[in-house]
Subunit: 587 residues, 2 copies
């Protein structure tokens, strides 16, 4: 070893010890005949002192050290005269009597500090330097502890971690696959798994009973801010269970993780909110329940008073922002601008203030009597000092989603979305299907293997769109951290499901034959769920993007700018794979 | 839950309890008015009794159960009259008072027993049924416990598990990459990693200090019996260490695993054998040291006595098979056949027996006096009753490899290769380079980032082929379970290495520029190793092939016969990727 101690562990009780440290030069300061060098490693920072009077040559050598040089230092631990209470090692320093430069460093392209001067692009290109910053490093440390705790918990509950293959078959249903040409099977391709969904179901058929895997999954989608082409899933499946068994076990895991990793004790059961309620009260299947501000539907109260916008609306709903009646005209205009942004798409916003005397003043006063406005305020539980914001539209679902955005924006403005406060819930009773305008058919909302609620099965023939599923999502602070369902284990029901989804029996057989065949040999009742690891760790770390909890993330074009991947192949490689690239212009 | 107890946990102390079990029908037997059904799940087998006299309808239902039906049984735990000492639950049975068929099963295509009647192909096609067999299931359970223990050990030593990307850049050096076309970057490809080698080195540059990852790796090679296109590596790297630090830490891990998973206490340090000795005494860089039978070189003794085969040989070496002098002529002929097989390629074999009176009788007596034969027997430590087997050839290395095969064969025949005995060692001081006849240049024996031994660095200029590396393999029972090296952390030395390996500076920059650039910013001294998880688990499980510790393995053509992957793509998918398949005939 190049060191006897690391840079984070020495304390006042070690004073007098001779030690060897190794690490990076964080900074160095010359003061009179003394040179102070802060040496950094993963574990911390320790101050090293070189004294010109004691050893001039050594002091000279120290003065030649540059930022990020890798050094080995020998010396004696001594109590500091001026201690640094911000540093765990701040009570001591090393009086150096030896220095070896293990490696030099060019001047890094940005400062290696918590707050760096480097922009996003340069930090990604030099990600190995970015990772030296303590806050980025801590995210990876948290991620490590997170997966350790997940494994410890699930192992304790009898789950087996079983690796499923990465080179599988392509399933055109769902998102786009990344594919891998097979050299040994001419003209054929593997696909990288979007999730091990069907494989974990086969593991249940195989009697593995309780499976989990922390596993890379792949989706070739056009990337948005918070998406990566490869991401990590905590994938779980259990046999002989009903929905409640799964929810209870994984709620236990969530509570364990909150306690161990964030020191947060969640003693109450997580609320279970039907999907229909989530949409009704929050306009979202992943409501942020850190704050209330539920939607109140105002159709009965506000329709039919001559205000044509509302009179023609399919939906009118409002939220009550507590204590925001003092919002200025400018602030209200900003909110109107906000909901009118194309990403949100509302036509406008109506507002009303509850004055100190209890009277209500709205932006549509000319259409509504004080009596009606009072009715509205009462319906909204609004009190003096509150601000009511109302949206309307001709598509209830769309308007609810707009109102959801407005609610979240108000939550931000009112400081109600504290990253250190956690509000968890289960959203349950999802619809089985959703209509796709693009495909002009019903699509599976979760996936085609989801079990319908027993009591809704008769409606599969009569009103499939109304059928609810045994599906559930775990939502924390408005983030869907995971979700799953009870699966169909009956091959006839599965066949019917494919039929509703517009698969011909041949197509279903071609794509999922292996699963339907497996179901003929004694499939147990089973179900499971999958968590998005990147998202959950980001949430625990208080990050805005999942990128910062990934060691080497890709940018929005799916590129790794550090590795410069993807890249063109050698012609020899293409030939071996029997592939030719079609010129873009020739298409 | 569909059960209150599993099928493996009930004991005599549970007698009288009312329980619900769920599982698969292993078998059912009708005896008079009683029907006995063995119900199986992952945890065991429990006998359930249906009595016609008590409940005729229930008994009738039980008689209709087929093999592998999934059932739920309610009943009372009772002490058995005739106990089954081979079953942990053998003291009890369930007197059934309820039966639900949860799912039916067609007759499985092979028996779900430890010893099955199913051949390899059918078992792979119905792998989900094969996995129901208790011996296959136990391999996956062992694999799970293995990775849990690896993580526990490394976490305790301060290692962080850090995920590296799966979509990386292609590096034509080394084995063939699997590649992934990028839709968003026209004409460009990702590669799947053959190992996270360069990425883990970047993590060391980033100061992560101690990294590990249990990770899928990919190699597009023509498959042999014990190779899979995707395999799992326990990948580790440490900073500020020398070779001995790595060996000690990972020897500790090996001992921990042996103890926890196999109950084997290895108290002695693992021997460290220089590569040159391994080749000299065992003809292999992964010697099976469960038994001795070291090679003895016989050039001095046997040359120059008129036996032209030996007189012209570049190498003559023998092994002494203790107590095998009684081998018949037929057995000796078999051994001669064995070494003459094309895979081994020896021209012939000479043998000599030490008779009870101490005299030596050999197959080449006419060339050698008893005096010379006695000298030989002495050199070989041969005693009365021993058999000496000798090979020679004009290429020392090739002949040693032939003699190695003969030694292993004799080890098998003499029962010296007990799967429950473990012999571990480190092979160290590997050559830095090996000559490639195909490429007509020196190739890196491990990889181009391996550090040469300090004392050999001057020879890089004068005699590179003689340079030894700070590289080490861990060998157990003749299997290389892992290996690694100290890495180069100096960009100049790295550049020199690329030069020796025949890279132009441009080519080196193109392929490994990101790493050489990183080395300019303060790379610490570092090193590591990687274990083949599949191999190590197979060794612990006593398997002949790695396939049986993999849930869903591929066959020798790289196919998953269960999923029927790889497969042709839809034209739409090819179009999106701008790819065209070149017809084989047109090449």
């Amino acid at each position: 070893m190049y060191r006897t101690k690391n840079c984070g562990e020495l304390r006042i009780s070690d004073a007098g010890q001779n030690v060897t440290l190794a690490g990076w030069v964080q900074r160095s300061r010359k003061m009179g005949g003394m040179t102070f060098v802060d040496v950094r490693d993963r574990y911390g920072i320790t101050q090293v002192v070189f004294d010109h009077d004691t050893n001039a040559a050594l002091n000279d050598a120290a003065n030649k050290l540059g930022r990020e040089f890798v050094i080995q230092v020998k010396g004696k631990v001594a109590e500091r005269t001026s201690k640094n209470p911000n540093l765990p090692t701040g009570d001591i320093e090393i009086i150096a009597d030896g220095l070896t430069v293990l490696n030099r460093s060019e001047i890094p392209p940005f400062t290696i500090e918590e707050e760096t001067d480097g922009g996003d692009d340069i930090r990604m290109k030099y990600r190995y330097l970015d990772l030296r910053r303590p806050n980025v490093r801590r995210n990876l440390e948290l991620r490590h502890r997170f997966t350790m705790e997940v494994r410890r918990y699930l192992d304790g509950k009898g789950f087996l971690e079983i690796e499923t293959p990465m080179l599988v078959g392509s399933t055109p249903e769902g998102a786009r696959d990344f594919v891998v040409p097979s050299r040994m099977n001419h003209g054929q391709f593997y696909a990288l798994p979007q999730s091990p969904q069907t494989l974990k179901q086969l593991l249940m058929v195989s009697g593995m009973d309780r499976y989990f895997q922390i596993v890379k999954c792949f989706r070739d989608e056009d990337l948005r801010a918070d998406r990566q082409p490869e991401f990590t899933q905590i994938d779980c499946e259990m046999s002989f269970v009903e929905q409640n068994d799964i929810i209870e076990l994984f709620e236990g895991m969530a509570k364990h993780l909150f306690k161990e990793l964030r020191g947060v004790e969640l003693t109450e059961p997580f609320p279970r909110m039907p999907w229909a309620d989530a949409m009704k009260y929050y306009g979202s299947d992943k409501p942020d329940t850190r704050f209330d501000m539920k939607f109140v539907e105002l159709m009965d109260i506000l329709k039919g008073h001559g205000f044509s916008v509302f009179d023609n609306a399919a939906y009118i709903g409002g939220i009550c922002a507590k204590g925001a009646a003092s919002y200025t005209r400018k602030q209200l205009d900003q909110l109107t601008e906000f909901v009118k942004r194309p990403q949100i798409g509302a036509k406008g916003m109506v507002y009303a203030r509850v004055e100190p005397d209890g009277s209500v003043k709205s932006s549509v006063d000319k259409f509504y009597s004080q009596e009606v406005l009072q009715l509205m305020a009462k319906a909204m539980d609004a009190e003096p000092g509150d601000l009511i914001l109302i949206l309307s539209g001709d598509d209830a679902m769309k308007t609810r989603k707009q109102l959801c955005e407005l609610r979240l924006e108000m939550g931000n403005r009112l400081g109600l979305r504290d990253k250190n406060k956690f509000s968890c819930l289960w959203v349950v009773d999802f619809p089985m299907f959703e209509w796709s305008d693009e495909e002009q058919r019903l699509m599976a909302m979760h996936h085609p293997f989801t079990h319908p609620k027993d009591e809704d099965i008769p409606m599969l023939d009569t009103d499939p769109a109304a059928v609810r599923a045994d599906a559930y999502d775990m939502v924390v602070n408005g983030v869907e951290v995971g979700g799953g369902s009870i699966r169909i284990h009956d091959s006839e029901l599965q066949a019917k499901m494919f039929e509703i989804l517009g698969f011909t029996p041949e197509k279903a057989q071609e794509q999922f034959g292996f699963l339907m065949n497996a179901f003929k040999y004694g499939a147990p009742p089973h179900g499971g769920l999958a968590y998005g690891l990147d998202r959950w760790v980001s949430l625990f770390a208080g990050l805005d993007s999942i990128r910062d909890c990934i060691a080497f993330p890709k940018n929005n074009s799916g590129r790794d700018v550090m590795l410069d991947a993807p890249a063109p192949l050698d012609q020899k490689q293409l030939d071996e794979l029997s592939l030719e690239i079609v010129e873009k212009s020739s298409k």
